[in-house]
C-alpha cells in the first residue's frame, strides 16, 4: 500500500488551550482537514485571519476519492499558492473515447481554449491534493500566517450562542472547550455537526452500486478517458478507465442494485472482473477497492448564523462530472473574503447571506448536472434505456447525437446570475461570458496571465479606459489594473472582455468574479457597485 496513507501529516500534540482555565477564543474554527477545510483555512490565514483547523484524524483521506481537478480549482489553488505543484504532478489529457457494446462509437478531443494558464483539468489522486494543501499550510505558518492545524481533535459538541460559537473537542487526553467567532463546518458528507444541529440533508439516492478500483499497472493504455456503455466484460452496466500519476489507473464498474457488497469487494471477485476488462496478460496490483452508492442532495441553507457549512457537508453529488471537491473549493473561494471583511468590521454580517445565495445556486447547478449524467449512465426505466441506446447507436455515425452522450460533464465554475452582489450589466456589446456574476476567464498577457493579477482584493480592470490609481469606499480599497490593446497580442482580452465595446471598466471581486462593468470610469457608479458587492444593501 502507498506509504502516503500511513504517514500522520498533523499528529496530535497537546495544546495550551487544553489547560486554559476558561475556554480560549479564536476568530475562525474550521472543522475538518479535507480538501475543503484546508483550502478555507489557507485562504483565511494567508490574509491574516486567525484560524484553527480541527480534524479527528491526522492523515490524508482513505480510499479512492477525487481524481479530476478542474481548471477553476487550479486557478483557486494558484491564488492560494499551490497551483504549480498540483499541475506538475497531475496527468493532463484531452482525448476521450466512448465505447458501446463491443465497438468504439466515437472519440473526442477537448481542445482547450488558448490563453489560459491552467489546463481544462488534471487527474490527481485526492491524497496528493490534500498532501500539497497541508504542505502549503505549513509553509504559510512558517511565514507567520495565523494557522493552527490540530490532528486527533474530534469535535463532539457545537453550540451557537448568537454572537459566538462554543465547541467541545475530544482528544486522547480528554475533552476541552474553545469558542470562536465563526465555525466553518467542512466535516464531510456524513457531517456530525449537521446532525448535532438537527439540520436536514435531503435529496436523491441513486439505487446503484459502483465498484471503484485504483490499480497499479504498467500498461500501455494511452492517457485518455475511456468510457464504456454495456461492454461485454460488464454486461448491461457501464465502465470507466482513467489515468492517474504514478502508474495508477482509476476503474469504475457499475454493479447494479441487488448485489452482495462484501462478496463483490473480495479480490477473488474483483480480479477476474478486471482481467476481463484489461485482458489476461496485463499485470496489475490493487491499491484500493471500494463499493459506493451515490447521492445528490444539499442542505436547505448553508449558513446557520455563526456556523457555516462548506463542501460535502453542505452538498453531495455523484462523482460523474467531478463536482465534489471542485465545487467545495468554489465554496471556500466564495466564503473566505466575505468572512474576512465581516470579521474586520468592514462589511455587514448580511454579506454572509450572499454566500448562501450564490453557493446554493452553484450546488443546484452541480446537482442538476450530476443527476443528468447519472441518469444517462444508469437508465432507470425501460424507455430511458431505449433512448440512451438510441443516442449511442446514432453517435457512431452522426455528429448531431454526440452532444447528447453524457458520461459526465466537465465541472465548470458557476456564474452567479441574479446574485444580490451583482450590479446590472452596463456594458453595451459586452461578451456574455464576462457578465456580472461570471468568474473571470484567464487571458495570456505578455509574459504572464490575467488571473495572476486579480484576486484577494477588489480590482478595477480598466481596458482602453482612463481610471484613477485606486479608490476607497467605506474602508474597502480598490486597486486599478490598466490594460490596453498593446497588452493583448492574441486578441483574447478583447474577445473575452470587450466584445463589441471599444473600452470597458470592470469591478472584480476578491474571488475573481465580476461584480459590475461599464463602458467607462464612473466614480459614482463604481462606489455604488462596491457597496452592493460588499453586502451594504443586503441588510
Amino acid at each position: 500500500m502507498n506509504k502516503i496513507f500511513e504517514v500522520p501529516l498533523y499528529p496530535y500534540t497537546r495544546h495550551a488551550d487544553q489547560d486554559a482555565a476558561t475556554p480560549a477564543h479564536h476568530r475562525v474554527v474550521v472543522v475538518g482537514a479535507g480538501p475543503v477545510g484546508l483550502a478555507a483555512a489557507i485562504d483565511l490565514a494567508r490574509q491574516g485571519v486567525e484560524v484553527v483547523v480541527l480534524d479527528e484524524n491526522d492523515k490524508v483521506s482513505f480510499g479512492s476519492r477525487a481524481i479530476c481537478f478542474a481548471k477553476r480549482t487550479l486557478e483557486i489553488a494558484d491564488r492560494l499558492g499551490l497551483g504549480t505543484p498540483l499541475v506538475d504532478k497531475g496527468v493532463q489529457w484531452n482525448i476521450g473515447k466512448v465505447f458501446f457494446d463491443e465497438r468504439k462509437v466515437y472519440d473526442f478531443n477537448l481542445l482547450p481554449e488558448e490563453g489560459h494558464k491552467r489546463p481544462a483539468f488534471i487527474n490527481l489522486q485526492q491524497y496528493y491534493f490534500e498532501d500539497y494543501l497541508v504542505r502549503r499550510a505549513r509553509a504559510i505558518q512558517s511565514e507567520g500566517a495565523p494557522l493552527d492545524l490540530r490532528g486527533g481533535n474530534k469535535v463532539a459538541r457545537v453550540a451557537d450562542h448568537g454572537d459566538h460559537v462554543a465547541l467541545t473537542i475530544d482528544t486522547v487526553d480528554g475533552p476541552y472547550s474553545i469558542t470562536a467567532d465563526y465555525v466553518i463546518a467542512c466535516d464531510g458528507a456524513a457531517s456530525p455537526i449537521r446532525s448535532m444541529m438537527g439540520l436536514d440533508f435531503v435529496g436523491r439516492v441513486f439505487e446503484d452500486n459502483f465498484l471503484i478500483a485504483d490499480v497499479i499497472m504498467e500498461a500501455d493504455f494511452p492517457t485518455e478517458r475511456w468510457f464504456w456503455f454495456d461492454p461485454p466484460f460488464n454486461r448491461g452496466q457501464s465502465a470507466l478507465l482513467h489515468k492517474q500519476p504514478d502508474g495508477v489507473w482509476r476503474i469504475d464498474l457499475q454493479l447494479g442494485w441487488d448485489i452482495d457488497k462484501e462478496q463483490e469487494k473480495k479480490p477473488e471477485k474483483v480480479i477476474p472482473r478486471l482481467k476481463a476488462m484489461l485482458g489476461d496478460d496485463v499485470e496489475f496490483s490493487l491499491e484500493w477497492v471500494s463499493i459506493y452508492t451515490f447521492q445528490c442532495r444539499r442542505m436547505e441553507k448553508f449558513r446557520h448564523n455563526r456556523v457555516i457549512f462548506a463542501g460535502d457537508s453542505a452538498h453531495q453529488v455523484s462523482p460523474f462530472g467531478a463536482r465534489g471537491a471542485n465545487s467545495g473549493l468554489q465554496d471556500t473561494d466564495n466564503l473566505a473574503w466575505k468572512l474576512k471583511l465581516v470579521l474586520e468590521g468592514r462589511a455587514p454580517e448580511a454579506l454572509l447571506d450572499s454566500y448562501d445565495a450564490e453557493r446554493i445556486f452553484g450546488a443546484d447547478e452541480n446537482i442538476l448536472n450530476s443527476s443528468r449524467s447519472t441518469d444517462f449512465i444508469t437508465p432507470k426505466s425501460e424507455i430511458s434505456r431505449i433512448f440512451r441506446n438510441a443516442v449511442l447507436d446514432l453517435s457512431e455515425h452522426h455528429a448531431f447525437a454526440r452532444p447528447l452522450v453524457n458520461s459526465g460533464r466537465l465541472s465548470m465554475p458557476c456564474t452567479y446570475d441574479g446574485s444580490p452582489l451583482n450590479t446590472p450589466d452596463a456594458l453595451p456589446g459586452g461578451p456574455a461570458r464576462t457578465r456580472p456574476g461570471s468568474p473571470c476567464p484567464d487571458v495570456a498577457l505578455g509574459n504572464g496571465f490575467l488571473l495572476d493579477s486579480l484576486g484577494d482584493r477588489f480590482t478595477l480592470l480598466a481596458i482602453n479606459a482612463d481610471a484613477p490609481d485606486g479608490l476607497s469606499e467605506d474602508g474597502i480599497a480598490v486597486t486599478r489594473l490598466s490594460l490596453t490593446d498593446k497588452d493583448d497580442a492574441t486578441g483574447a482580452l478583447a474577445a473575452r472582455y470587450l466584445g463589441d465595446a471599444p473600452a470597458a471598466v470592470y469591478l472584480i471581486r476578491p474571488d475573481q468574479h465580476v461584480a459590475a462593468r461599464w463602458p467607462a470610469y464612473d466614480a459614482v457608479a463604481i462606489r455604488a457597485a462596491l457597496r452592493r458587492a460588499t453586502g451594504q444593501e443586503m441588510q
Partner: protein
C-alpha cells in the same frame, strides 16, 4: 418571429408518409421497433432544434386533446 409548433396539416402526401413509417417497422420485433422509434425521434428533434418548439410538441403529445 419565433416559429410555433405546427398542428395544422403540413405533410405533403400524408398517406405515402404514413405508409413509409409503417414500412420502416415491418418485420421488426417489438424491441427493434422501439429502438427505431427512439432513433427517429432523436433525428427529428435535431431537425427541429429549438427547445421551445419541442416543448410545445411534448405538451401536445402528452395531452392530445389540448389544454
Amino acid at each position: 418571429m419565433p416559429t410555433d409548433l405546427i398542428l395544422t396539416p403540413n405533410m405533403d402526401r400524408p398517406d405515402d408518409i404514413y405508409a413509409d413509417l409503417l414500412a420502416a417497422h415491418e418485420g421488426l420485433s417489438k424491441a427493434e421497433s422501439d429502438a427505431l422509434n427512439a432513433r427517429l425521434i432523436l433525428i427529428l428533434m435535431n431537425q427541429i432544434g429549438e427547445r421551445r418548439v419541442l416543448a410545445q410538441a411534448l405538451a401536445a403529445a402528452r395531452v392530445p386533446e389540448g389544454s
